[in-house]
Amino acid sequence: MLGNKFVAQLALQHLRNRGLVNSPSRLTFVRNRFAWGSDAVGPNVPVGGKMGASENPELHTYDGDYRGTISKGDKPIPDYFYRTPTTGRTYIDRCVTYFISAVIWAWFSYHMYYHSGHLLGHWYMPYLSEFTDEELGIPKDSAEDPEYWGNHKKEYGTYR
């Protein structure tokens, strides 16, 4: 009767012969050492998620299932709701909401204080009628006419 250790080593030898396992010390996709005996026994405590059979009430359970922070005044969230709305928010939900609102208001206040010009305009935008004739270089009607280079009176397409 061959032992499990010998059978495992024989299988590893076969894999090495076929080239799937190059060297015992090299990291490959095939495990070099087969677990048996006491090494195959895992931790018998809940370490997140689930373990054990689904009927096992001790091992098939969640680790740290959050049902509200009772010390902060939350009502415990029951396992199920039957034709009733949920029982409000939890302490974690309130903290996250507070943090997000604080960040948004800080961003808004900073930008409205330092960069309000992006929304409201930095400087005065005048109407065209506010410019004076002297400022624009418009002579009086009695003065001679400036040189005119335009084509306002001509038909479209008859000039360059």
């Binding site: 010009g117 109407y127 418009i138 002579p139 009607d141 400036p146 040189e147 005119y148 280079w149 084509n151």
Partner: protein, 123 residues
Amino acid sequence: MGTKLSVSLEGASTPETAPRVDRPPTFDPQYGFERPRKVREMKATWEEMEQWKLKPAQRDYCAHHLISLMKCQTQNAPFAGHACDGERGAWDKCEYDDHIMRIKEFERERRLLQRQARKEATA
């Protein structure tokens, strides 16, 4: 907003006295001023604008400010919004001054055209 509307409406209703916005001024730019007008100079070179991949609308007389702003943004990312306040303000001010200058040219052209039409009507 209102100025854009009035420019379009005047261009459609009274095209004889409406300045053309797609071509150079039609009156002598030096007329009506005691001192000769200053020639505008371009500070940013073509190589700099090509290096920073400026769009055609960004290659105006404020391009050197925009290049400084983009350089500052590249160096201070991701805190450029706070670190590049000075460059952003300088670029905005330059664009504002450019806008004021352009609307002054438009209004000068418009008033000279109206003056010409007025003199032709009275004569």
